[in-house]
């Protein structure tokens, strides 16, 4: 099983990029890879339950469904705390499989030869 790290920096500010990141992430879980999405910058908003409900991009399933597919099939979501706190988001209302993680675990994963993509 290969490790894949996807860094996602967008949310409603760029719905196309946001949706595509999850589509690719799901391609990863569907092929048996160990996939982690690291939410940073605006991407941290996706960690709040319900925020993704109205995000979509032409040609793809709604992000709400893509997110559920991802977490239901073992995908992990890491959330950058400084980015999260700077936006004054609710840490007690996170989507499933979301945990706070900063630079050290991200670097550790990359140092373990994880492939990475950044959106």
């Amino acid at each position: 099983m290969t490790k894949l790290l996807i860094n996602l920096t967008t949310a409603k500010d760029n719905p196309d990029k946001t949706v595509v990141a999850f589509v690719v992430a799901n391609a990863g879980v569907a092929t048996g890879q160990e996939v982690t999405i690291f939410l940073s910058v605006e991407g941290v908003r996706l960690a709040v339950a319900g925020y993704a409900d109205d995000i979509s991009s032409p040609g793809f399933k709604p992000l709400k469904e893509l997110l559920a597919d991802f977490t239901d099939n073992g995908g992990k979501i890491w959330v950058c705390p400084p980015c999260f706190n700077a936006r004054e988001l609710d840490k007690d209302n996170l989507v499933p499989n979301a945990t706070f993680a900063g630079g050290a675990p991200v670097v550790e994963l990359l140092a373990q030869d994880a492939a990475s993509l950044s959106y």
């Binding site: 705390p81 900063g102 050290a104």
Partner: protein
């Protein structure tokens, strides 16, 4: 936790937190211990990861307390 040195990292998080620990650990002698006090949401993820990657054992942690507390030993 009984430690040789205490670091109050306050709200510092992410790469700034681990860099602060890195710089503080430089001032310790091998075998000495550092207690880190942190409020960062990801401290219980980031600090153990830093310890694994740098080879400095995490001897104890209390992530229920506020601040959270981590006891790290400088490797020999």
């Amino acid at each position: 936790m009984q430690a040789d040195v205490t670091l109050d990292a306050g709200e510092t998080g992410c790469g700034e937190l681990t860099l602060l620990i890195f710089k503080t650990m430089k001032t310790l002698c091998s075998g000495q211990t550092l207690e880190v006090m942190a409020y960062d949401l990801a401290a219980e993820t980031d600090i153990p990861a830093w310890c694994r990657m740098t080879g400095n054992p995490l001897l104890a942690q209390n992530t229920e307390s506020r601040p959270k507390r981590f006891l790290i030993q400088k490797s020999t």
